[in-house]
């Protein structure tokens, strides 16, 4: 079996090198190790990788200027979580053992919480790349920080827009399989009802489910037809849902949130016309974001796919600022500095942690697909009083 043997050996080598190539010796005096437990493979990889690319760009730029606060050269150690919650805990432990003083976790609440369970007792500041569930920070404790606009904030922005558009009746499509897909539409429902709208129906799906026909038939047979469907489904479920929805002749508009602001969804073309989603920012001509996009394209060789790149980049800037404020590389001091951040000038706008539950206050851009392009509707920071509790 020479062929088989060769394949296996190749796979073995790949596995061994994939996990050890980044491992380094212990840190030198002016070096700070940042551990990144992120998904290079699996369902979260399409979200983690762009965000990580942005972070790497920021850290490369900072290292060229002497490192965080111009003083601490960053050694970034990246390990693959395979989009698996248990594996995330394993690699987080390995990163801690390697001396990580700051931890970066995947774009989802569950793996971030599993990594946070390990960093919390040690006081290591932990930032999720783009996990946006507001329950995330409370579930772990004071070391855990969100970086992306929280689900309840995004949902409020979309609901405000839907109400302003004159939408009255919504159908909520959720999936209990992740915090994001389960809660975001419900936050939307709360704000929508408070502002005079009605939730006329609810449906659920299993992530990875092949067939939405039964759910769609249920929607079609509702006596009280919704004028909007709100869901936090993302790829590959969102394309499947909308393909089958439109295929069944249903033309009700579908709104979602940040996870559908991706090239895959944009690539669906006419199928997603009118779909509203959110982003961390919008590159107006002359804006900092536009300049970032150009710089990123030069750095990575391709334009940013979404706003996850800039969000990752901003994490680098936030860490730089935090180390400056802390004046040391002590994890606890860095944590306190992040938590005290107020009106920090990011690329997409002002970012504030002070006074929050460690989910940042920051602007949300509302976008709409039209003719295969994402068009900007407006950028807003929803009224804090409207945002439902996590």
């Amino acid at each position: 079996m020479p062929k088989l043997y060769r394949l296996h050996r190749a796979a073995l080598y790949a596995a061994v090198f994939g996990t050890t190539v980044a491992v380094v010796s212990t840190a030198s005096a002016e070096e700070i190790i940042i551990g990144a437990a992120t998904a290079q493979t699996g369902g979260l990889a399409p979200y983690d990788q762009p965000a990580l690319a942005g972070l790497r760009m920021a850290l490369d730029e900072l290292n060229a200027k002497g490192g965080l606060a111009g003083k601490y050269t960053v050694k970034l150690i990246i390990k693959d979580t395979r989009s698996d919650t248990a594996q995330t805990a394993t690699v987080a432990q390995e990163l801690i053992d390697a001396g990580a003083k700051i931890m970066i976790t995947p774009c989802d609440a569950d793996p971030s919480i599993s990594a946070g369970q390990l960093t919390q007792p040690l006081g290591i500041p932990t930032l999720t790349l783009c996990g946006s569930a507001p329950v995330l920070t409370a579930a772990v404790g004071d070391v855990m920080f969100g970086t992306y606009p929280a689900d309840n904030v995004q949902a409020t922005a979309v609901a405000d827009f839907a109400v302003a558009e004159g939408k009255k009746k919504v159908f909520l499509l959720t999936s209990p399989d992740s915090t994001y897909t389960a809660n975001l539409p419900e936050y939307f429902g709360k704000v929508f009802e408070k502002k005079g709208g009605a939730v006329v129906g609810r449906g659920t799906f299993t992530m990875g489910q092949p067939d939405f026909s039964a759910e769609i038939t249920n929607i079609k047979s509702l006596a009280d037809q919704p004028d909007l469907i709100m869901t936090a489904a993302y790829e590959p479920d969102f394309p499947a849902f909308i393909q089958q929805l439109r295929g069944a002749g249903v033309t009700i508009p579908v709104y979602g949130a940040d996870a559908i602001g991706t090239p895959t969804i944009k690539g669906l073309g006419k199928l997603v016309d009118g779909v509203v989603y959110t982003a961390a920012g919008y590159a107006e001509p002359g804006s900092k974001l536009e300049a970032f996009n150009a710089a990123f394209a030069k750095y990575a060789g391709h334009a940013p796919e979404s706003t996850y790149e800039v969000n990752g980049y901003e994490i680098g800037l936030i860490l730089d600022q935090a180390v400056k404020t802390a004046g040391s590389d002590d994890p606890k001091a860095i944590r306190d500095a992040i938590a005290g951040l107020k009106d920090f000038d990011g690329i997409t706008g002002k970012i504030t942690y002070a006074g929050t539950d460690r989910m940042p206050l920051r602007p949300v851009a509302l976008m709409r697909y039209e003719g295969g392009e994402g068009k900007h509707i407006q950028t807003m920071i929803p009224d804090a009083a409207d945002v439902p509790a996590p």
Binding site: D211, N218, Q243, P263, T264
Partner: protein, 293 residues
Amino acid sequence: MIAQQIINAVSLGGVYALLALGLAIVFSIVGLINFAHGELMTLSGYALLAALVFGLPFPAAVLVAVSCGALAAVAMERVAFRPMRGASVTSLLLTSFAVSSLLKVVFQNGISARPQAVAMPSWMTGAFSFGDFTIGVGPSISIVVSALALIALELFLRRTVTGTAMRAAAEDFNVVRLMGIPASRIIATAFLLSGLLAGLAAMLWVAQRASVDPLMGFTPVLKAFIAAVVGGLGSLPGAVAGGFLLGIIEVLLQATLPAAVAPYRDAIVLSGVIAVLLVRPQGLIPAVRVQRS
């Protein structure tokens, strides 16, 4: 609405039946549950995408994609399973897992971890209506293609020498070899057919999902496995029956379960599977020569 849900159920069941049949054909001959069957689907999906990107007209692209699935299945047998011939059922099973994992990583690192949108022609997202209910073009195509594939396979197995030899091999492979029919040809044909079925199922799957991703083979192969076990491992009619049963139960539960219980849908389906196996341990339509892995 009931008529509508019946169409939904038949359409989903048809796809499951194609998938389960693909598994069952190989199992009936070589006693291997090929868990890399799903990756054959993924491969066909990517082939469809590539063909469309290269500007092939849609029907030609589908043809290319299905052939890719079939050829990949034959290649898979040649590279991974032929060296393992005669090995224990467990070794075969593990080999298929290895092939599956390997291909997934190749797809993720070689193509993209991100799902790729596949633009289906607009007529496929259309629907036609009779009175007050509408039938989507997608589900109708699913039903027609599944039915045609099942009929064609039946004809092949009943009316051709190779088909007859395959049916005989499923009952007693050694006697077939004593009759002078080369084992390699039978096995290669079984893989070819299973690859064809995977390719066809992939087209229906992608048409409903509008995207291809590296992990997309996982769910279908799992469903196919459940359907094949419920139907009776190694039995072709059983696989078809199991596929339809699974599709019908899934749609029925999705349609009728109250929202509070809906998240337990998969658990209920699997409990149903256990119940069926308790009553009929060999499956709905047991294979003539019963094998267990």
